[in-house]
Symmetry: C2
Subunit: 207 residues, 2 copies
DNA sequence: TCACTAATTGACCAACGGTCACTTTTCGAC
DNA sequence: GTCGAAAAGTGACCGTTGGTCAATTAGTGA
């Protein structure tokens, strides 16, 4: 049975994926051509299409992997957090680690907008795993959220603040810094959660 | 003196601009081709380039006009506002009118991301007029903002929240609604301004 | 009328995403 | 080893894009 053949195919796919990941990060999604991806990996253009239907699909696969990687990292840190403040800080440490990946946060935004004209991509982005902080807020902070507020709203508000800040980063506005945005997020989260301003340990938060 | 000729040229430019504006709104920036723009206006492709250097430039001109139009509308409403709550509400009524222009808020985001790879466009967007709520917050709400906080930060935070919400709108997430985002913005603005929670008339705000 | 200038045209170019008939490599049966 | 089938890999080719530019048309002032 054609074991070696499958293995070779998998290997090729990995090489193309690595090449695509590097180029997307360096030049962005639109500016990276398929011919570049295959050439950099040492293959012909046609090879690409035996693994993916187009640029969109290879990007979705890369996205999946990146998110998986991010999530793993986040879970590791979250295992030691339980109080409102601890959880909040882990989440924002995590969001800041995404910001550190400056090139990629740019590419994520680029693809998000690109996807907005295509229902398939839109659904893929929404369902799939991109919008990370939504679910995490619901799951982990649900117990803290005030009864009359749907927990997913807390997460979405957080995401909005985060992505709005990403846009300003991308445009190099340089008015807000990370602490500003984190303070704002904390303020909003507190307003939506049952946490006394001084009742719980707030030492981890610098204001 | 070649009056009629200049007039004709201006007319052509207007027609192309109108055509471009319509098509950008309908299909987005990337999906609209220059040939389409000129054909819809009844000209040949080459005509386009005697008025603009490329797609980016016609878009910048359209942006300028749209912003001017938005600003005029806003100024009209602002002339009757003075208190913290009134100003805040006028600003967010205005931001919501931008949201209503659903197609265009999509296109604005698209171009913003597109510009992020091009220093010239980036500078144009930042300096020019896109980021409207920044300056308006500084100018109009400056007197309310607490002394230790740079006024432009209040505006930037507002913009971040607004654009983050735009992204969720564009992706049709449907978790947050306008009231949610407005409440959040109000909460943040209050925290950064010298307004007593109940000292000033707050009747205009529904919470 | 006529020379001059400005407005307008569309064939042309390189580069793109995507297709597909073709060649090369791998494989199991003999 | 041999060989035919199947899989992996190739690159010329297609339609379309943004952008160029020599050629054409129309408006102008004397």
């Amino acid at each position: 049975m054609a074991r070696r053949q499958q293995e070779k195919s998998r290997q090729t796919k990995e090489e193309l994926l690595a090449s695509a990941m590097r180029l997307f990060g360096e030049k962005g999604f639109a500016a990276t051509t398929i011919a570049e991806i295959t050439k950099a990996a040492g293959y012909a253009k046609g090879s690409f299409y035996s693994h993916w239907a187009g640029k969109d699909d290879v990007f979705l696969e890369i996205l999946e992997r990146k998110m998986e990687e991010y999530r793993r990292e986040r879970s590791r840190k979250l295992s030691h957090a339980s109080s409102f403040e601890e959880i909040f800080n882990v989440i924002w440490d995590f969001l800041e680690s995404i910001m550190d990946d400056m090139n990629w946060s740019k590419v994520f935004l680029e693809f998000t907008i690109h996807a907005s004209r295509d229902p398939r991509l839109q659904a893929e982005l929404n369902r799939s795993k991109y919008r990370l902080s939504n679910d995490i807020f619901s799951n982990l902070m649900g117990k803290h959220v005030r009864a009359e507020i749907p927990p997913e709203k807390v997460g979405s508000l957080n995401t909005a603040l985060f992505e709005g800040f990403l846009i300003q980063n991308v445009l190099q506005t340089n008015v807000l810094n990370r602490q500003d945005i984190r303070n704002a997020a904390l303020l909003l989260a507190r307003a939506q959660c049952d946490v006394s301003e001084s009742g719980e340990p707030t030492s981890a938060i610098k204001e």
